[in-house]
């Protein structure tokens, strides 16, 4: 177990290094010149050279990278040329919103998908199974930028069940109204996950139920319900977990769309704004943090594997 985790941790460090490389050099491919943005109407060749020198932008790209990396390792992501705010504080304000959004959306997704799958496998290809398959696929087919306005129309404009866009309340200010504002965006995000989790768990459960150890469990006199929950669910949840790891990573990107549409001041909102303002220091910081978060989530999933299935860490 310790050896397995040590191996995963070593891989984690290597991956983070490449992520930082990618972040830095890809962001430098973006069009726009920070000196121009800062100077605005005062831009001339002399002033631009002055600013470039001040910011270290006249040095070779590799040198810039290592200076940046050194700062990052000290917890300093730089300072925005545009807003003069430190990138770390921008992220510290925005990131919890994404985190909360993803967590709530995943709670919704699992709370819907797992009971659906457990009910469907009682009669594979029965009526319930077919309807929930069709229903969940319909959810997958609807992209967030369609679902979000429709849900806003239904639940915020027409019925006032949930607050509309741009009504974010910080968690620290009022817990319940914060949760209340987050449910609608989280729901939009959850729809795509539900079908993935439902289909994976359903298929894995059906194949697990063919195993000898399920027959053995039946021959002990256990009830069907107990067999499903105690014997079939755990060995069937490996691919569910793996896909959740990958899915949550892409959800952070998906959250950007939802945040922008529903005017939630999360990372996606901040990222789109900084791209529009050529604020590449902030862009770099946000992309790095998101990438590290995605890698971290997958590391966490690797660790969960060892808990769910003891066979994994032995091999």
């Amino acid at each position: 177990m310790a050896k397995y985790l040590a191996k995963r941790a070593a891989a984690f460090v290597v991956i983070i290094f490449f992520v930082s490389l990618g972040t830095f050099f890809l962001v430098h491919l973006l069009p726009g010149n920070p000196a121009l943005t800062i100077l605005g109407p005062n831009a001339n060749a002399h002033n631009i050279a002055l600013i470039d020198k001040q910011l270290g932008l006249n040095r070779p790209l590799w040198t810039q990278y290592f200076i940046w990396l050194g700062n990052v390792l000290h917890g300093n992501l730089g300072q925005s040329f545009v807003t003069r705010e430190s990138v770390v504080s921008t992220i510290a304000h925005a990131f919890p919103i994404d985190l909360e959004l993803v967590v709530i959306s995943q709670i919704i997704a699992f709370a819907v998908a797992v009971p659906l799958a457990l009910t469907a496998v009682r009669k594979p290809n029965g009526r319930f199974d077919r309807y929930s398959t069709a229903g969940t696929f319909a959810m997958l087919a609807m992209p967030p930028f369609i679902v979000a306005p429709v849900l806003v129309l239904l639940f915020a404009v027409n019925t006032h069940i949930f607050p509309g866009p741009a009504s974010y309340v910080p968690l620290a200010q009022n817990f319940w109204s914060n949760i209340h504002t987050m449910i609608l965006p989280a729901l939009v995000l959850a729809l795509g996950s539900i079908v993935i989790y439902y289909r994976l768990l359903r298929n894995d459960l059906i194949s697990t139920l063919q195993e000898d150890f399920i027959l053995m469990a039946r021959s002990k006199g256990l009830s069907d319900r107990r067999i499903l929950l105690r014997h079939a669910l755990r060995p069937s949840s490996i691919s569910l977990l793996a896909s959740a790891g990958i899915n949550i990573g892409s959800l952070i990107a998906g959250a950007f769309v939802v945040e922008y549409l529903l005017q939630l001041p999360g990372l996606g909102y901040a990222l789109v704004n900084s791209i529009n303002q050529d604020d590449y220091v902030t862009v770099q910081g946000i992309v790095l943090v998101v990438a590290v978060a995605v890698v971290l989530i997958n590391f966490l999933v690797d660790f969960l594997f060892t808990i769910v299935d003891p066979r994994i860490s032995r091999d």
Binding site: E211, D212, F213, L215, M216, A217, R218, S219, K220, G221, L222, S223, R230, H231, R234, P235, V308, D309, P310, R311, R314
Partner: protein, 349 residues
């Protein structure tokens, strides 16, 4: 080793298990597949019956039908299975569940796949104990540890928390026996309990089963493809072919005067210690018949070296030999194959 029959008890008039004219069919895409065909036998308390046949002869389906584990819309069952006088065929699932694990239990062929790989073995034993017996967690734990000790698992306290993957095949089979015997069932259905194990471990497991059975006065249906396995460990033997009983007799009787050429062929394909090493094993020529399209005559005729015209035309009925407890289904039984005409038979029951 053989164990003496159980002491007579007042209920011995009613056999523990009475299977009558039991048939099991599966609806398949190619038609009805009759996996078990009109099988009847009885089993007394504490006794052992061996069910022998090649793979595909219906012995596993028989064991599972007796237990009641085969269910589903594509399974058709007829006949009767009486356990302690109670009819099991068609009994509601809730009734069967209260018997399963408590009064009748099953051991499966492959200990690698029959234990839940992600559940500690201790839990897999206590689960059954807590379901059927009214005991608390710590009592269940203590019972499970003592069961592990009884089936010969070294340091059972530590092994209690092991996962199946951390044990060898033989150890896993011992765990499976511990699970099956947890609530002291009256009947154990052992489906090829030693097939996945190497020969020395096979003997250990069979000896263990025998002694536990004797201690607990438990009856056992021992399903195997290996006549050698049942030779010294059963009271009676049922030989199955194509879902039917083709010969049935007390064990010693079967070996001293077997009547069915199929039984003879099975015995010839059993490895023997008395043979010089590297002796070629006689395999039975051909393959078991397609159960959805059985030939009109004796199902074994195409593979039987004694087969004659009559065998290919008409299926032989199950008849009694000189002794009423010896039944066989053959037109030309071994040892009586002299005249050109079939020997006369008295049709049983």
């Amino acid at each position: 080793m053989t164990y003496p029959p159980a002491a007579s008890d007042p209920q011995s008039a009613v056999p523990l298990l009475e299977v009558t004219e039991l048939s099991t069919s599966f609806r398949t895409g190619r038609g009805l597949l009759k996996a078990v065909d009109r099988v009847s036998f009885r089993l007394g308390r504490g006794r052992t019956i061996g069910v022998v046949g090649e793979s595909g002869s219906g012995k596993t389906v028989l064991a599972r039908t007796v237990m009641g584990l085969l269910a589903g819309s594509n399974v058709e069952k007829t006949g009767s299975v009486r356990f302690e006088g109670q009819e099991l065929l068609g009994a509601p699932n809730s009734e069967l569940r209260s018997l399963w694990g408590a009064r009748m239990a099953m051991i499966f062929q492959d200990p690698m796949t029959a234990l839940n790989p992600v559940m500690r073995i201790g839990r897999q034993i206590t689960e059954s104990l807590r379901l059927h017996l009214d005991i608390d967690r710590s009592e269940a734990r203590a019972t499970a540890v003592s069961l592990l000790a009884q089936v010969g698992i070294p340091s059972p306290e530590e092994r209690y928390g092991s996962f199946p993957g951390e044990l060898s095949g033989g150890m896993r089979q011992r765990v499976m026996i511990a699970i099956a015997l947890a609530c002291s069932p009256r009947l154990l259905l052992a489906d090829e309990p030693t097939t996945g194990l190497d020969v020395t471990v096979q003997a250990q497991i069979l000896d263990l089963l025998g002694s536990l059975q004797y201690e607990r006065n438990m009856a056992m249906v021992l399903v195997t493809h290996d006549l050698g396995v049942v030779a010294t460990r059963t009271d009676d033997i049922v030989v199955m072919y194509a879902g039917r009983i083709v010969e049935m007799a007390p064990t010693s009787r079967l070996f001293s005067s077997m009547a069915m050429p199929y039984t003879e062929a099975l015995l010839a394909s059993t490895p023997r210690l008395s043979n010089p090493s590297h002796t070629r094993l006689a395999a039975i020529e051909g393959r078991p018949p397609d159960l959805t399209a059985l030939p009109p005559g004796c199902p074994f005729a195409p593979r039987c070296r004694y087969a004659q015209d009559l065998c290919r035309r008409a299926a032989p009925p199950l008849v009694t030999a000189e002794r009423p407890d010896h039944l066989y289904a053959c037109w030309y039984p071994l040892g009586a194959r002299t005249g050109p005409a079939p020997v006369s038979h008295s049709v049983s029951s």
